[in-house]
């Protein structure tokens, strides 16, 4: 670089604004502007607190769908069969209520980044949004979610025909918590209304099973052997696909389901503290087998596997079984959707040693932004979308699996299911044991991702016992910090 000569300095006839002056003024102005703008963000959302009462209390008189006529609401959703089933029905809601609905879609991989930013920013940009039950444990404590209990209990705001109890109990419990360490689910406020859900079971290539004259396994040891027998790497075919990526989402489907069936738990409650139990004898034994299953009969790039990879392999005939969400494998059997469409069937998966069919669930629910300025309209939308009529319409006209209402499952869903062998039987076998098998806690995502990392470490050769001891120790520290 050439050295600039001093003669090249710009000349200025008037008083020169010194660089220090300039930087000082810019710093003061910039700092002030930034501080003024950021202070409201420190309020962590703009939600109502329990001291302020609920906006539901302001709704009085008889129930009327037209109570918020003329308003418009925005909803944030992720592209999903649930959302796609309801999209054509939104005009029915507008006709019923006079409320306009604008949908914004964000892909699943970035959905919670966007939602988190909005809620942390205290924005009421979206009045209603899709939320998974585990996210309530994180988004609820800062006051970002509206408690829907007062809305459910107010007959001026909720139709007599709504019948909240018709929603499966495990789902109602999954979306209710008091945010107290050690408290079970089912206590506290109702932070979302379950809208669609999935049980984690086994989907398999029935055509291939029939050709070989075999049936799905009923115990975990038989399941492992079956998966190994079905694996033929030379033909790019393997026994069972399940998630293995470095994410909390690796733990919650098949792994947590079978982990619970084998009698293991994630935490034990000791007073108001949680003690991680991922290193109990049962947990270590099961984890060893699970990782061995991944090695011997799982996808070769298991540590990168997400559910779309697993369901894709089932659909193109590479994987003979998948242990994941029933609703994620469901679309693969629809005509034209995959190579193996029409060849798939479902099974509850292996029972535990005591015959347990404990099954972990995922539910996409609808929650209300506590900073929303249009809460009545938002509640009417949630009530409509989770109501019997709209859910039945969604089931009849599209691929809405699984509906969260028993009446809709027994009615419209069974009528329209068609040729999905074992789907109903599997659902009915596990539904009474289907609930969130995790202990609710606010550090769920960090600690469950730690768990997935531990699985990967064991997969790559670390000793299961010592690795799970280390995991339990760090997770105990983290959840009680």
């Amino acid at each position: 670089m050439t050295v600039r000569s001093s003669s090249f300095q710009p000349q200025n006839g008037g008083r020169r604004l010194g660089r220090r002056d300039l930087l000082k003024y810019l710093g003061v102005a910039g700092g002030g502007a930034a501080l003024a703008s950021l202070l409201p963000a420190c309020g962590v959302g703009g939600g109502t607190t329990s001291d302020e009462g609920s906006a539901a209390d302001e709704v009085s008189g008889g129930f009327d769908w037209k109570k918020a006529e003329g308003e418009s609401i925005k909803i944030l959703q992720t592209p999903h069969p649930y959302q796609q089933s309801f999209q054509p029905l939104l005009k029915d809601f507008t006709e019923l209520t006079g409320i306009e609905v604008e949908t914004e879609l964000v892909p699943e991989a970035d959905y919670f980044t966007k939602l988190n930013t909005e809620l942390a920013g205290g924005s009421g940009e979206h009045d209603v949004f899709m939320i998974g039950a585990y996210f309530i444990w994180t988004y609820g404590p800062p006051g970002w979610l509206e408690d829907l209990d007062p809305w459910l209990e107010n007959s001026s705001a909720t139709s007599d025909e709504y019948d909240f109890e018709d929603i499966y109990e495990g789902l109602r419990m999954a979306t209710r918590w008091d945010f107290q360490q050690g408290s079970p689910l089912g206590t506290g406020g109702q932070w979302a209304i379950p809208w669609g859900f999935e049980t984690n079971v086994v989907a398999y290539n029935k055509a291939e099973f029939d050709r070989r004259g075999i049936k799905p396994a009923e115990t975990f040891d038989d399941f492992i052997q079956l998966a190994i027998d079905l694996t033929d790497r030379s033909e790019s075919r393997y026994g069972v696909a399940f998630r293995g990526s470095r994410s909390w989402a690796t733990i919650h489907p098949g792994f947590m389901t079978q982990y619970s069936r084998e009698g293991a738990v994630d935490y034990e409650v000791d007073g108001d503290e949680l003690v991680a139990a991922m290193n109990s004898e049962k947990a270590v034994d099961f984890t060893r087998k699970w990782v061995e299953l991944a090695r011997e009969a799982g996808p070769t790039s298991w540590t990168t596997y997400e559910y779309p990879d697993a369901t894709r392999d089932l659909g193109n005939g590479t994987a003979m079984m998948v242990f994941d969400a029933d609703s994620a494998t469901y679309p693969q059997n629809r005509p034209g959707e995959s190579q193996e469409a029409g060849n798939l069937a479902w099974h509850p998966g292996p029972a535990g040693p005591d015959g347990s069919y404990a099954t972990n669930l995922w539910t996409w629910s609808l929650a209300m932004n506590s900073a929303s300025q249009k809460k009545l309209a938002a509640w009417l939308f949630i009530q409509w979308a989770t109501g019997k009529e709209a859910m039945s319409d969604a089931v009849r006209e599209s691929a809405f699996a699984d509906p969260t209402r028993a009446s809709v499952f027994d009615g419209a869903f069974k009528e329209t299911l068609g040729d999905f062998p074992g789907y109903l039987e599997t659902f009915e076998k596990v539904i009474d044991s289907t609930e969130i098998q995790f202990t609710p806690q606010t550090k769920f995502f960090e600690t469950t991702e730690n768990w997935a990392v531990a699985l990967q470490d064991i997969y790559s050769g670390e000793d299961a016992r010592s690795r799970l001891d280390a995991l339990a120790e760090s997770n105990t520290d983290e959840v009680n910090a």
């Binding site: 670089m1 930034a34 914004e104 980044t113 469901y330 034209g336």
Partner: protein, 288 residues
């Protein structure tokens, strides 16, 4: 027979053939993701994960992406997201050039205590994680009404385009002999006229290169558009991902078709000003 190598003829030796083969292999490897994307865009849903190269090609996916069906799937009109991307990226580059070119000239010509710190601060906008600053930006944008607007996008994209323009052009201005400008000043030119009529024309290839690079980086930006826009000002990069589907229903073929369409504007632009780009990027490459 003479073994003399005539002009235009190549000598085929084992080394040169191996070098060509290696080059061809690298070319194939480098372009394979693009080829795969194009192939995927031509497949039906049933064939998207079950076939490699043998399939029944269809243009239906492109039609779906641009049609009402595409809008129904994603809640945004893909064509309008393309227009938003073009408007916001062109706008962002223009603003960066208007402010950044004089800034680069000043940075290249004047040294003062802390000038390197200022330049480093500008550069830090490029490597600071976008997610780190996006929450306060989200709050500010909501407060001042810039959320979900094209103007808001143009403004925030300055974090992407401005450092590129200033840093690239500063090196061009530094490479210009000062004598030219000093001669102009001796002839009575003002500083502004010297900049506009002497320095600026000489760095045109650099401006073209910087503008194109800034445009491409702005075009590819995802996080700011994801967080700071809604349906009104969604850009094409966000719109592409909305075709991915979810819940076990994946539309890789539609996503690939959308990506192919989205890649066309920067590709056309790059080919159009390729001459300037090559010259611009190689300019100053051997500077000490």
């Amino acid at each position: 027979m003479s073994t003399e190598l005539l002009p235009g003829r190549r000598r085929f030796t084992l080394t040169s053939v191996l070098a060509d083969l290696a080059l061809l292999a690298w070319f194939t490897f480098a372009l394979f993701p693009i080829l795969w994307m194009v192939l995927l865009a031509l497949k039906t849903s049933a064939e998207q994960t079950s076939t490699y190269f043998a399939f029944s090609p269809t243009l239906e996916n492109f039609g779906t992406v641009l049609s009402a069906r595409g809008t129904e799937l994603t809640s945004v009109d893909f064509t309008s997201t393309l227009i938003t991307s073009v408007v916001s990226c062109v706008g962002a580059v223009l603003v960066s050039l208007i402010i950044g070119v004089p800034a680069a000239y000043a940075a290249g010509r004047w040294k003062y205590r802390g000038s390197n710190d200022v330049m480093f601060t500008i550069l830090s906008f490029r490597f600071a994680p976008e997610l780190m600053v996006v929450v306060p930006l989200f709050v500010i944008y909501h407060q001042i009404g810039l959320f979900d607007t094209r103007v808001g996008l143009i403004w925030v994209l300055q974090l992407v385009t401005m450092p590129l323009v200033v840093w690239i052009l500063r090196s061009y201005f530094q490479d210009l002999p000062e004598d030219l400008e000093q001669a102009a000043l001796l002839d009575g030119y003002t500083r502004r006229r010297t900049f506009l009529t002497v320095a600026l024309p000489l760095v045109r290839p650099g401006i073209a290169a910087a503008a194109l690079l800034a445009f491409i980086f702005a075009w590819n930006n995802y996080v700011f558009a994801l967080i700071l826009t809604g349906n009104e000002a969604n850009t094409v990069t966000v719109a592409i991902t909305k075709f991915l589907g979810g819940g076990g229903q994946a539309y890789y073929n539609l996503t690939a078709a959308a990506a192919v369409i989205a890649a066309l504007p920067p590709l056309i632009l790059a080919l159009t000003i390729q001459r300037y780009l090559v010259r611009g990027l190689s300019f100053g490459a051997v500077k000490a």
